[in-house]
């Protein structure tokens, strides 16, 4: 028979390439460096109304100055340029003295601190130095118990008011807290401190390894993962009741809990099905359901705090851990990083940015350096925030979207550091070593 019966069909499958991933370092608008003039604020020394308030007044002055300097939106007049005046009331205040050189302030914060019958009374005013007709912007009075902690609290409250009025409606962060892990080899416990590093104190006393603490959006509970009898489990500590509350245990290793924006759900990584996947449960642990189902570990979920309907997490489905986003029901998986070793994401409060730790040159022989990066989600453009300061990890956004707290082992010991969201004004918050995994509270 003729061999023409046989036909050969060649099928060529053309495989289209994906859209390109994160382009190189471009400008990312985080809102703190847009070229708008910072408001020039003079924080005057408050007037002591009674002789015994000197020590508390000194604390108040330093804390108020530090809060305003840390806010990221003010240009604080340095203490040496202030006129040698301590006006205690609006009647003693003459704004023209503060608006001329060398002070040249646009706003002046002043007032008085006194102790009356065991109570610390602080009167604070914020005057607009350029508006001689109607200078008053704020007038506040605070009364608390007369101790050092109250002086700090009142200074934080007053600074928050000033930041709210002058900073475009975004509340200040002076009263927020940071939870973190403290402990080297041996047991690791959950500790908490003020946003400026003051008052570090332990929260849990479990005597075992506890990791990745996360405060709930209403500041009432801390969820973390702790090594117990049944392996790593999600545990919840109630700050209102000051004790652990129940969370059902599950099989496998359960790590990195994350609260949703409304506090009703917790996402976490669980390997109860064999492979670590992202699971979502209600805030009390009931009704867990799986949202990822790919091979490779899926860890470190974080919710979109603006919409509450998206989750960013780290997945090793392609080999090295990369950053992904998806809807909260598991649809719309999008890869964000194009290589390297990415870990521990945190979503910005306005929903536009992700910050994470990234080692772009990971591998044997490569000069690995893990640094904090910020990526704009819509365009996938990223910017590197830390350079050559040791290994940096576990970044966490502040609720005003202007600051990032992270852990760094510059100098050999792991400490908590904080910086503005554009990488400037970096300074250390903790001092006693072996501090890791910070998380900023929501308010």
């Amino acid at each position: 028979m003729s061999s023409r019966l046989s036909k050969f069909v060649m099928i060529v499958v053309a495989f289209a390439a994906f859209s390109r991933y994160g382009s190189a370092q471009d400008n990312v608008f985080t809102g703190t460096e847009k070229g708008v003039d910072r408001i020039r604020v003079a924080a005057a020394d408050f007037k002591p109304l009674s002789a015994d308030s000197a020590a508390l007044k000194a604390t108040f002055d330093t804390v108020l100055y530090a809060d305003l300097a840390q806010a990221g939106i003010f240009d604080l007049v340095s203490k040496s340029l202030l006129p040698q005046l301590t006006p205690g009331a609006p009647s003693e205040m003459n704004v023209t003295q503060w608006s001329v050189n060398p002070t040249n302030a646009a706003m002046v914060a002043f007032g008085s601190v006194g102790i009356k019958s065991g109570r610390l009374i602080v009167n604070g005013w914020l005057f607009d130095a350029k508006n001689t007709q109607y200078p008053q912007v704020l007038g506040k009075q605070y009364a608390e118990d007369a101790n050092d902690n109250s002086a700090r609290e009142i200074a934080h409250k007053f600074a928050d008011e000033i930041i709210l009025r002058l900073g475009g409606g975004i509340p200040g962060i002076a009263e927020t807290k940071i939870v973190y892990v403290h402990g080297g080899s041996g047991s690791k416990e959950i500790w908490m401190m003020d946003y400026d590093g003051a008052n570090p104190h332990p929260v849990t006393h479990l005597g075992t390894v506890s990791l990745s603490p996360r405060i709930s959006p209403d500041n009432s509970r801390i969820a973390f993962s702790s090594l117990g009898r049944e392996g790593f489990q999600i545990r919840v500590f109630s700050l209102l009741l000051n004790r652990m509350v129940a969370f059902p245990a599950a099989a496998g290793t359960n790590l990195s809990p994350a609260w949703s924006a409304n506090g009703a759900q917790i996402a976490y990584s669980s390997s109860r099905s064999g492979d670590p996947e992202i699971w979502i449960a209600d805030a009390n642990g009931s009704g867990p359901r799986r949202v990822t189902s790919f091979r490779g570990p899926d860890v470190s979920p974080v919710w979109n705090p603006k919409t509450g309907s998206q989750i960013a997490w780290i997945s090793g489905r392609t080999g090295l851990p990369q950053l992904y986003t998806m809807d909260a029901d598991g649809a719309g998986v999008t890869r964000m990083t194009d290589g390297g070793y990415a870990t521990s994401p945190s979503w910005s409060p306005n929903g536009q940015f992700l910050t994470f730790a990234w080692d772009r040159k990971y591998g044997p022989g490569a000069p690995g350096g893990q640094d904090i990066y910020v990526m704009e989600i819509a365009t996938k453009r990223w910017i590197q925030l830390t350079h050559d300061t040791g290994r940096c990890d576990f970044p966490s956004w502040s609720p005003d979207g202007r600051h990032i707290v992270y852990a760094s082992n510059a100098g050999g010991r792991w400490e908590i550091w904080t910086m503005l969201a554009d990488g400037t004004q970096r300074h250390k918050l903790s001092a006693n070593g072996a501090n890791d995994m910070p998380n900023w509270s929501w308010k």
Binding site: G31, K34, D37, L81, V100, N101, N131, Y134, G169
Partner: protein, 259 residues
């Protein structure tokens, strides 16, 4: 008996199959032969094999030398030298004695007795403006009008229609202007477009949220107008209206002038 039947059946089906295959084969070959193009296909047996002829480059001759046309200036092989221009005759400068100057000789008069000089009148000197630079080196803040903000991308200015509000709460208006100026993303603006200043009106509610954003006077550049509206829509809140203000909203007129 069944084998015979099967053999018959197979025999019959084999013949049918062969016939059908033959018909199909015949159709294919016949159609090919029937529809075969007669004549030359492209490039076959053409006189000048210019399009598909390949020649070794090393054997390619240079283009022949064109005959030189000397009278054409541009094609000449020997360009003429630059024309000699006569040096400009520079006139010598006039000597000082060329033009006679008539000087009136003063008539001799007896010398006057010098009067006592009156004390110089102290005219009030204008006060020197205080320099912006502070003595220690720190620069002073930028002095702009309370409601105008100069940023890297342009100038933004707000005007609250309730002028008493603008006077009393100037800090709020300034903070409002800065917040909108911060939102401005001008990278998508059309640089060659003629329009410049766009006027927007909007309302700020009691809790600080902007509403009723409208273009009051378009700038002539649609992309600038749209980016202005988008900048306002991006803003969640300006911060609550000051406590001392009793109204429930303020109307704001806003213009933006990109650099």
């Amino acid at each position: 008996m069944t084998e015979k039947k099967r053999e018959e059946k197979t025999g019959a089906s084999l013949v049918t199959a062969l016939v059908l295959h033959g018909v199909a084969f015949g159709i294919i070959v016949g159609a090919g032969a029937f529809f075969h193009k007669k004549g030359d296909s492209w490039g076959d047996r053409s006189e000048q094999a210019t399009a598909i002829q390949a020649t070794m480059v090393s054997a390619l001759p240079l283009p022949p030398k064109q005959p030189v046309k000397d009278d054409s200036v541009l094609a000449s092989e020997t360009p003429s030298p630059a024309p000699i221009t006569a040096k400009e005759k520079v006139e010598p400068p006039p000597s000082p004695r060329d033009v006679p100057i008539v000087v009136k000789k003063p008539t001799k008069t007896p010398p006057k007795v010098a009067e006592k000089p009156t004390p110089a009148v102290q005219r009030p000197q204008p006060t020197k403006p205080v320099p912006d630079r502070a003595q220690t080196g720190e620069t002073g803040g930028v002095k702009v009008a309370m409601t105008a903000v100069d940023t890297k991308v342009g100038t933004a200015s707000t005007n609250v229609t309730d002028s008493a509000f603008g006077q009393r709460y100037a800090y709020y208006v300034k903070q409002l202007t800065q917040k909108v100026a911060q939102q401005w993303y001008t990278a998508l603006l059309d640089k060659s477009a003629p329009g410049h200043r766009v006027y927007i009106t909007f309302r700020v509610e009691r809790d600080g949220t902007p509403s009723q954003i409208q273009i009051a006077k378009p700038s002539g550049d649609a992309s600038l107008d749209q980016s202005a509206i988008r900048a306002l829509q991006h803003i969640d809140t300006f911060g609550p209206l000051p406590d001392g203000y009793s109204g429930s909203y303020i109307n704001v007129q806003y213009y933006f002038d990109p650099k």
